[in-house]
């Protein structure tokens, strides 16, 4: 093998590898990207049943129902619209009524989500900046959350 041929092979190899990597990325990003909504945005979005979404908002007062055996129902609100969440698992320590929460789950019907994850945050000030902006717009943002 001449050196030139070897180089060609090396370049060819990297190109094949690179393109397969890009294909992999494109293919997977379509499947695995999760959109992030407030309840109002979810209703206006074109998400369909069985889509995986993330919802950020506040847990509505008196809405947490403990069905036993680690199953919970609760409502996430942004003061305009509401989404019902069903969840099976341990709730994080910071999960409280009238506190910010982010969940990820699958849409069961237009207003119901089966959540697989309820996100625990390092501190209660945590809320994605963009969701915060949206909630401030709806005047559902408590100042002391910072």
């Amino acid at each position: 093998m001449t050196i030139r041929f070897q180089r060609l092979l090396l370049i060819l190899f990297s190109l094949i590898f690179l393109s397969s990597a890009i294909l992999l990325i494109l293919f997977n990003s379509k499947k695995n990207l999760v959109f992030f909504f407030t309840p109002s945005e979810l209703i206006n979005s074109d998400s369909t049943i069985n889509d995986v979404v993330r919802i950020g908002g506040f847990v509505e007062k008196d809405s947490i129902i403990n069905k036993g055996n680690n199953s919970y129902n609760f409502v996430i609100t942004d003061n305009n619209n509401k989404v019902l969440v069903e969840y099976n698992g341990l709730l994080p320590d910071l999960f409280k009524e009238e506190q910010g929460v982010v969940i990820e789950g699958r849409l069961k019907s237009d207003f119901t989500i089966h959540a697989f994850t309820v996100f625990a945050k390092h501190d209660e000030n945590y809320m994605p900046a963009s969701i915060q902006k949206q909630l401030q717009k709806n005047q559902y943002w408590k100042k002391n959350y910072k």
Binding site: M1, I3, Q6, R7, L9, L10, F13, S14, F17, L18, A21, L24, I25, N28, S29, K31, N32, L33, V34, F35, F36, F37, R54, N66, G68, N69, N70, N88, G89, L90, L91, D93, L94, E104, F119, A120, K121, H122, D123, E124, N125, Y126, P128, A129, S130, I131
Partner: protein, 623 residues
């Protein structure tokens, strides 16, 4: 008072670094040579003064300092008062500066390099120090005076009050920030056109050290996440984890490339490129984390002006470095003789694999930002994306790793290939049999077989070496192979703990027994303990295996008085081959909900990392 001393130290250290740079330009006179080193040591001295002033303010709970007021409380244990120094944005940037300065001084004791290369490296390092020092002084000063007269602070985030997280930042920073010295060395070598053997020998050691520290830091962080977050996992593809992984991967590529450069004097351009890339990615990571652009579980107080400053720093340093790289990069007159079936080409291919993996992670990390800017839609890229892109990309790399020991350095010949092939076939058949008889899972099978191949091939290679050298300098000849065995062990640990993890939810009453497989768990009692700064609800569980008593597991919830936050402390029973991981949930009608994770072979991950670090240390000290 103490804030004033600290701030003066910071400013003086800045000034002395300016003197270092200035005196370099008047180097003709021998007297300036003296000043050069003197100024360097003075800058470290004042930096230490500044850092310890802040630490003292934390220990003595001096709430006239705004930073202490915001992040400390007098009822905290002493250890967390000390570590609180770097448990916040400002303090951690001060630690960053201290480490940069320490690297500069330790490097100045180096006697291997020629004098002018060493000096220019120090000058570059001082320049980088000035950049970050300016950042601290202008946007994140830890020595601001508290405008409110207060006797008590707001307290440290309870989740950070943990021994592993106390030492995690310093170790991580020693790695992360250490890449600044690698960048300085690369720039000095480039400008003086001195990328010779000595330079490679020196940069190899420092790069290895930084990379090992980064490895240790990441491992500590992920171990912390494992037992503190109570999610049963140890890696979540969180943006903050990703940004530490990117310099780690390029560092890995750098350390390996330096191996070939030692053997064949080739690929210097590539090495320099990687050196620049490592620190660039470190700064980029800092930017993404500290500017608040990315939302992650690690929330640092975000401030837009900081973000812009770091972005400017990133663009300046990276831009400058790459311009010098393009202008001054050496043209090798010797052709790369790849020959294709040898260690050199295997390493090059592996380098490409690593860089592509790095790019994939970068894309996933910044993709949500791009989408939000372009379409105003928000999205998140979660673990499924990374698992289904990064892992397949890394597969060929691990494959090459498993066959690498049978390749030779210089020739195309395959050494003792038959033995290797036999051993690979035997391990494959064994794994196939075992997986066929138990639960078959394609990823589980692939991971296990790759891990076993790597271990088996490395062991055989060590055996060959032992026959050849008769145990003389055992660690010196075999340390790379031992490190690879560590990787193999780690791969097996990762595979088993993530694929064969089981999770069970129960509700349990005091005295009740629940069964999970052949194990049974009994809630013995619950008690409340008062500690200095928190109250703890302790659940004591008894674990039995087939009626045989194994251990008691304590799982608890803590309520921190100052920050009014509840944290979960998972109870973990470690065994060599499995972990029982128990999280205590909420109570309803005297019934407690609990989650039990059964994580097989998770300890292999930490054992593998320790083996890697150990053999890396041997690699640094070997002649």
């Amino acid at each position: 008072m103490i804030s004033l001393i600290g701030f003066s130290g910071l400013i003086l250290s800045f000034i002395f670094n300016v003197i270092v740079i200035v005196s370099y330009y008047y180097k003709i006179n021998q007297r300036f040579n003296h000043i050069f080193y003197l100024a360097l040591y003075c800058s470290l001295f004042f930096m230490c003064l500044s850092f310890f002033a802040l630490m003292f303010a934390y220990i003595s709970s001096d709430f006239s300092n705004f930073n202490v007021f915001q992040n400390s409380h007098s009822s905290k244990p002493l250890l967390y008062k000390i570590t609180g120094t770097w448990g916040n944005h400002e303090g951690s940037m001060l630690l960053w500066l201290l480490i940069m300065s320490l690297y500069n001084v330790f490097f100045s004791f180096n006697i291997t390099l020629e004098d002018h290369v060493r000096k220019l490296t120090i000058v570059f390092q001082s320049f980088l120090y000035l950049c970050f020092s300016l950042f601290v002084i202008l946007t994140s000063n830890p020595f601001l005076v508290n405008s409110i007269d207060s006797n008590e602070g707001l307290g440290l985030n309870p989740i950070l009050q943990d021994p592993a997280l106390a030492i995690h930042p310093p170790v991580l920073y020693i790695g992360y920030v250490g890449f600044s010295l690698i960048l300085s060395l690369a720039l000095a070598g480039l400008i003086l056109n001195q990328l010779d053997n000595l330079w490679i020998q020196v940069i190899k050691r420092w790069a290895m050290f930084c990379w090992l520290m980064l490895t240790g830091g990441i491992a500590l962080g992920s171990y912390w996440a494992y037992y503190e977050l109570g999610w049963g996992g140890w890696w979540f593809w969180d943006p903050v984890e990703n940004v530490s992984l990117m310099p780690w991967i390029t560092g890995l590529a750098l350390v390996h490339s330096l191996m070939i450069t030692k053997q064949e004097q080739l690929l210097k351009r590539w090495v320099v490129f990687l050196s620049i890339l490592c620190f660039s990615l470190s700064i980029l990571g800092t930017f993404l984390v500290r500017s608040g652009i990315l939302t992650s579980v690690h929330s640092f107080a975000a401030d837009a002006s900081r973000g812009i400053f770091i972005l400017i720093l990133f663009l300046t340093i990276t831009g400058f470095s790459f311009i010098i790289f393009i202008l001054k990069s050496p043209h090798s007159n010797k052709q790369i003789n790849l020959l294709f079936i040898n260690k050199t080409s295997a390493l090059i291919i592996n380098n490409i694999v690593m860089l592509i993996a790095c790019i994939t992670i970068l894309l996933g990390t910044i993709y949500p930002i791009i989408i939000e800017v372009l379409t105003n839609k928000r999205m998140s890229v979660g673990a499924p994306y990374y698992n289904s892109t990064v892992l397949p990309i890394l597969l060929p790399g691990f494959l090459i790793m498993s066959i690498a020991p049978m390749l030779s350095w210089q020739s195309n010949k395959l050494d003792k290939i038959k033995n290797y092939i036999y051993i690979l076939i035997v391990t494959s058949i064994l794994t196939l049999l075992i997986t066929y008889l138990t639960k078959f899972n394609i990823w589980g099978f692939t991971g296990t077989i790759l891990g076993l191949w790597i271990i088996a091939a490395s062991l055989l290679s060590i055996l060959h070496n032992c026959l050849k050298y008769k145990f003389k300098k055992f660690f010196i000849y075999n340390n790379a192979l031992i490190a690879h065995m560590g990787v193999g062990i780690m791969i097996i640990g990762i595979t088993f703990s993530s694929i064969f993890q089981t999770k069970n939810n129960f509700t349990i009453q005091t005295g009740e027994i629940v069964n999970s497989g052949q194990y049974s768990l009994q809630l013995k009692n619950l008690k409340i303990e008062e500690k200095n700064n928190f109250q703890e609800l302790l659940g004591i569980f008894l674990l039995h295996k087939k009626n045989e008593f194994l251990t008691t597991i304590k799982s608890s919830k803590r309520y921190y008085y100052v920050s009014k936050v509840i944290t979960t402390e998972a109870g973990i029973y470690h065994d060599w081959f499995q972990d029982f991981y128990l999280v205590l949930g909420n109570e309803k009608n005297n019934k407690w909900s609990i989650t039990i994770y059964h994580n097989p072979l998770v300890s292999f991950i930490w054992i593998g990392v320790m083996i890697m670090i150990f053999s890396g240390m041997v690699g640094i000290f070997k002649r």
